[in-house]
């Protein structure tokens, strides 16, 4: 899932400026699970803004709402009235959600309340780690299910480098060397032959931005015929 963190209160306060009526929109999917932008976090941010306004003797009205997902239009459409009533909208979705909301209501200032960090997993309660860089050419099948593009700070496809140190990475000796992890995993799963394989250079051509995916069953016209 997508992992994000709330911006500092000072930054949010600064971008919100002197708005009197703020709509805070949470997202009930990834960012709710990583405790950054779900219903509860909307409530916390709203409380902080209210407390701050009260302390400064400012007038402020806050509307709180959380939708299932901000990256799907059908969940954004019902927000029309709330958005039009507000001076500004603070979205607690990932960057994609913020942009989609801003695109749908393009006459309103839609501001990000989070910093989107990475695609990752919940290591344990309250801790997430990055696992994938969305490189569009997945090689996990050859590397024992461990991603060197993400886990190795140098993104080496043919590792380890000369700096691997008893299982630790030379860039940060607190971290495991991705290629030692890969070696050990391949050893366990009987795939050690893979380690001798030379990977061709990474295909950066498939990573051109902005990415676009069309499901074959939804292509315009008849779609692709099965040959």
């Amino acid at each position: 899932m997508i992992i994000a963190e709330r911006k500092t209160f000072d930054e949010i306060k600064q971008i919100v400026g002197d708005a009197h009526k703020i709509l805070i929109v949470g997202c009930g999917t990834c960012v709710a699970v990583c405790m950054a932008g779900g219903e509860k976090e909307v409530g916390i941010l709203a409380s902080l803004l209210r407390l701050d306004a009260k302390r400064e003797g400012r007038e402020l009205e806050i509307i709180e709402t959380t939708v299932e997902r901000q990256c799907d239009k059908e969940y954004l459409e019902p927000l029309a009235k709330k958005v039009s009533d507000a001076d500004v909208v603070v979205s607690l979705a990932c960057g994609a959600g913020v942009q989609f909301l801003a695109e749908m209501y393009d006459t309103k200032r839609v501001l990000p309340g989070l910093n989107t960090r990475f695609i990752g997993v919940a290591e344990h309660e309250g801790m997430w780690t990055q696992r994938c860089m969305a490189c569009s050419d997945c090689i996990l099948g050859e590397t024992g299910g461990i991603c060197p593009v993400t886990i190795c700070p140098k993104g080496l496809l043919n590792g380890p480098c000369g700096g691997t140190n008893e299982g630790k990475c030379e860039v940060d000796n607190e971290k495991d060397c991705a290629w030692t992890l890969i070696y050990r995993r391949l050893e366990k799963t009987g795939g050690l032959n893979n380690i001798k394989k030379l990977f061709p250079p990474k295909r950066y051509d498939v990573q051109t931005k902005p990415g676009k995916v069309i499901h074959p069953a939804y292509e315009k016209g008849e779609g692709k015929a099965h040959e």
């Binding site: 209160f9 916390i44 209210r50 407390l51 003797g57 009205e61």
Partner: protein, 82 residues
């Protein structure tokens, strides 16, 4: 006592949440010391009285809540809409 919670590590978790909440208060410039967690047994009346005394002392030191001070000068209209 800390770590001796009826809900096992519940009060250790609560301590982390309270510390997090203190951080939230600090973000909006409200003295985080106004919030404090005490561990005590359910029947620990003496301990409770001590804690209440300590909190009273802290509250007196800081004076009225910064939110109240403003309220006396000019009442901001804050409405909560769900």
């Amino acid at each position: 006592m800390e770590g001796e919670c009826h809900f096992l590590e519940g009060n250790i978790r609560a301590k982390k949440r309270v510390n997090y909440t203190k951080g939230l208060l600090a973000e909006v410039k409200i003295e985080p010391e106004r919030l404090k967690m005490f561990n005590m047994g359910a029947s620990d009346a003496k301990e409770f009285a001590h804690a209440a005394d300590e909190m009273t002392k802290i509250a007196k030191e800081f004076g009225p809540s910064p939110l109240k001070k403003i309220k006396n000068r000019k009442r901001p209209a804050i409405r909560r809409i769900q």
